[in-house]
């Protein structure tokens, strides 16, 4: 937890990918033009989100086995951070869509799927608020979290592939990576992806530690009173 090397690595990776992404050369392509640089920011947001939701579901499964409150706190903070990255992914995507498609929110299965997946995780947070008792809250929300995860995968990754979509990588379109990226872009892209995932995990662990301190203060107050 207190090891710092990967945090430094995260900052270096994101920093260097920002510099190389904004200053480096990109292939000149029709429609995309310079906006192809957005692939360094938009796509890693979703990678980070999926990674955080995956952490959350793993700790929810662990919670059901262990009933350890820490596992529940990790799960919920991973979801909170994941929602943040989802919002950033939607924002960068809307910006990109506005320039290339001329519309920030076309009626597209990929976009709608990701919005609905966000609703599902917001429902998870609402469910937590609806339950008063701590252990019950942890257990039932863990169950819903595990139940929702495969549906989220279907929504974001499987359904858009089946239907017509504007979005690269779905509806028979090729991904940006396989067609449009040249050999200079690839290393920058992977650096950005790993860097942002690490940043996401870092934010998540920080939120988790703040939550732990808050809980400790609460229990201390209770025992004093």
């Amino acid at each position: 937890m207190r090891k710092t090397w990967w945090k430094i690595l995260a900052v270096i990776m994101v920093g260097s990918s920002v510099i190389a992404g904004l200053l480096g050369p990109v292939p000149e392509l029709p429609i995309l033009n310079e906006t192809i640089r957005n692939v360094y920011y938009h796509v890693p947001m979703w990678f980070a989100m999926i990674f955080l939701y995956l952490i959350s579901v793993v700790y929810s499964i662990k919670y059901l086995g262990s009933s350890d409150r820490k596992h529940d706190l990790i799960a919920v903070e991973a979801v909170n951070t994941g929602i943040l990255f989802c919002g950033l992914g939607l924002l960068t995507g809307m910006l990109w869509g506005y320039i290339t498609w001329g519309d920030p929110w076309p009626n597209d299965p990929k976009l709608n799927g990701s919005a609905i997946a966000t609703l599902m995780y917001l429902a998870y947070l609402v469910l937590r608020n609806a339950l008063e008792e701590e252990q019950k809250r942890a257990k039932i929300s863990a169950i819903y979290n595990i139940f929702a995860f495969p549906v989220m995968i279907v929504l974001i990754y499987i359904l858009p592939k089946l239907t017509d979509s504007l979005h690269p990588g779905s509806g028979g379109n090729s991904t940006i990576g396989s067609l449009d990226m040249d050999n200079y872009m690839r290393p920058v892209f992977y650096t950005a992806a790993i860097g942002w995932i690490l940043i996401g995990v870092w934010i998540g662990t920080m939120r988790y530690r703040i939550r732990l301190i808050e809980e400790q203060e609460d229990t201390f107050d209770n025992s004093a009173a």
Partner: protein, 219 residues
């Protein structure tokens, strides 16, 4: 008793409970018929796209109303008794089976009433029936688990809607697409991927329900 026998006994128990009072089934059927009439008064006539969407929305709300009662109609004490007798997996599986039967009945009635009042534009009746049947099973497999979760929260109806709508939307999208194929009379080979996705999602949800339910009931 082994797993399947337990499921059989529990399903028969649920059907008998329902048959004695007939409260749920009658009220849901009345609900469906009156919703169809309200829609008819509001729309008079609709094009095929709206026809299809409206039908699934009516079914969606009917199934939420029907299935959300699943775990609350009997008292908590009685569940405690069941849990000491049967395997929790058998209990949740029996609920899914029972809800599927109930939903098939409700959606079949809804389909007949809806198709008679609004003129039915369906070309491929068999495929549409398959879609309705798969829809009934999908609704019950998803909503059974969600209603089990929301029954634990006490404040039932809002939580039920919030939790279940995002989870059901992928299924609903595929169902609407499949049934639109049936209406337009697209050749059946074109619908295989939708059928496959529906069956796959159902298998996954039922498997996850079976895995998770033992944790849910233990309080």
């Amino acid at each position: 008793m082994n797993f399947l026998e337990q499921v059989k006994v529990l399903v028969i128990k649920d059907i008998m409970l329902e048959w004695r009072s007939k409260a749920a089934i009658n009220s849901i059927l009345l609900y469906v018929v009156s919703t169809v009439f309200v829609c008819y008064q509001a729309f008079k006539s609709v094009d095929t796209l709206v026809w299809n969407a409206l039908f699934w929305i009516i079914l969606l709300f009917a199934s939420i109303t029907a299935i959300s009662r699943g775990f609350t109609q009997e008292t908590q004490h009685r569940y405690l008794y069941y849990y000491s007798l049967v395997n929790p997996k058998a209990l949740v599986f029996s609920k899914i089976v029972y809800n599927s039967v109930l939903m098939t009945l409700i959606s079949g009635t809804a389909f007949v009433v809806y198709g008679t009042i609004f003129k039915s534009p369906i070309e491929d009746l068999l495929l549409y029936f398959t879609a309705v049947l798969l829809g009934a099973i999908s609704f019950s497999s998803v909503f059974t688990m969600v209603s089990g979760i929301s029954a634990k929260t006490g404040s039932n109806s809002t939580i039920m809607a919030i939790l279940s709508f995002p989870v059901i939307i992928p299924l609903l999208i595929v169902l609407i697409k499949l049934s639109l194929h049936a209406i337009q009379g697209v050749e059946r080979a074109a619908s295989t991927s939708e059928l496959f996705v529906l069956i796959a999602i159902n298998v996954i949800t039922i498997a996850i329900s079976l895995l998770l339910f033992p944790y849910l009931w233990r309080d």
